[in-house]
């Protein structure tokens, strides 16, 4: 009865699962260090085998994350160079217009809703938030991991500043995930209880029509003009 489209490639799905696992490890081992004076933090760190072991895991996960960031961006640069990517996540003027329109719709000022392409402004916002946050935590994490080497080039004050930035950026990322991301992937009435697309890669035509109408039109137009169904779309 219903048709499915492949929204995410296996590479993208693996990236998501990896970032998810790494993010959980970093949060569990990092937040108790930021809030070390709380009893619960001590309990968590004890359960992990002490602060030194927790730090080992935090650094291992951090380096894994940094490695994945390099992998992700080198792949992105490569796909731009060979022309295979349309850079669907680059913010455009339309995203700002969409955001304003959508807010007006939520407030009941208009009955017209924004129509989105492959990624809507919220998804772009979250992606770029993650990118900027990653730059901050990776750069400051490197300073904190090798403070003596870092201060051969940088003034000493960069080390405590890096500590403040690293822990606050981590906290911000954690809060964004537990509010915004969990809401959009689980509690949003459109997808409740669980948006499985990022794990299975599949999205229904119905949801495409509802959430990404412009992409759907483009895909179906391309398929029509090639007079075959979009290669990996039929199910």
């Amino acid at each position: 009865m219903s048709q499915y489209f492949v929204r995410f490639s296996p590479k993208q799905r693996i990236e998501h699962v990896t970032v998810m696992i790494v993010f959980i490890v970093l949060s569990v081992t990092g937040l108790p260090q930021k809030f070390f004076e709380y009893e619960i933090s001590r309990w968590v760190l004890d359960a992990l085998g002490g602060v030194d072991r927790a730090r080992w895991w935090h650094r291992a996960a951090g380096l894994t994350f940094a490695g994945f960031a390099i992998f992700h961006f080198s792949g992105l640069i490569w796909s731009v160079l060979d022309g295979s990517s349309r850079l669907p996540l680059v913010p455009t003027r339309k995203d700002f217009a969409d955001a304003i329109l959508q807010l007006r719709y939520y407030l009941g000022l208009t009955e017209q809703q924004a129509r989105f392409d492959r990624y809507d402004y919220r998804q772009k916002f979250e992606y770029w938030g993650l990118v900027l946050g990653s730059v901050v935590v990776i750069a400051t994490g490197i300073i904190l991991m090798w403070p003596t080497i870092a201060t051969t080039w940088l003034p000493g004050q960069f080390v405590p500043a890096a500590k403040v930035a690293h822990s606050n950026e981590g906290l911000l990322a954690f809060l964004v995930v537990v509010t915004w991301h969990i809401y959009n992937a689980h509690f949003n009435p459109d997808v409740f209880p669980f948006d499985t697309t990022i794990f299975t890669g599949r999205i229904s035509r119905e949801r495409m029509h509802h959430e990404h109408p412009l992409e759907l039109e483009r895909l179906e137009h391309a398929a029509d003009s090639a007079s075959t169904r979009h290669g990996d779309g039929a199910a």
Partner: protein, 345 residues
Amino acid sequence: MLLPLILVLVLLAQTAPALAQPPGIDDCLACHEDRSLEISLPSGETRSLAIDRAAFLGSVHGDKLTCVDCHTDITGVPHEARPLRSRREFSLAYYESCKRCHFANYTKTLDSVHYAAASRGDTTAPLCVDCHGAHDVAVPGQPRERISRTCARCHEGVLAIYAKSVHGTALKTGNADVPTCTDCHRSHDVGGPHAANWRAHTPELCASCHGDEELMKKYGLSTAVHRTYLSDFHGMTVSLRSSHGDEGRTVVARCTDCHGVHDISKVDDPQSKVLKANLVQTCRQCHADASDNFPDAWLSHYEPSWSRAPLVYAVELAYKFLIPFMIGGLLLQILLHLWRVVVNR
């Protein structure tokens, strides 16, 4: 049947005191006041057996105890021969005399590094009398300088260093606030860096004075030192490790690692290990490859502010606005979305 028993008891009660009348001080001093009284020991040492009457009567025990209260093994004249080979064995033989009255302090000594040394077979480890004296016991710690002099009988080198420190020089002027040996190391359950967890508890030890608002005000010192230490990487690590009950494989700086131990000086003293000009050398004790920039990574116990650490303060301030702004905005969007969903139904 009962009557003969009572008779026997009455007879015993009448005769007993007469048989075992304990000798008074005068009875003992009849012989022991003789200055030439001494014995030769198998070790080749001689041991004077003379007692200074005035010294004993002037001691804290002078009006309370008689000789046999401590010398309980002396039951008759002439005294039973004792197989003591050296002067030290004399002291060791009477080691447990004090505990009959001073039981609490005696049990504390069982936790001391001194007792640990003694139980390893070190006969030079101090006994009660080595610190307090035997016949001339005085009130300990009066004047306070006496304490460091007492410890210096063995720990001579430490006193020489301590005497030049900020604490030691103040002690000489009669200052009653500065710590002397026993304030940090305790008196009966004497501890030191060899004791388990000693290093981990250093910050609390220093904070017992340096965290005391009233006391520090007298000297114009800040009590923020403990708090700022704990909120920094070193202090947080020490605190987390000690609550987990391990010291970790790597050393993390505690108060004494930067400020020194017995040689602590004022922070503006040219010799101070934490003076700006000397700080990089202090950092290099652990961070061997520290550059000249590195000491600035430590904010010298100051809270970040525009004048002290503007970069750190700016970053702190930025996140104080950014986090509530971002999360507040996102939550607002979620609520608006949900509200619209409800309205649409």
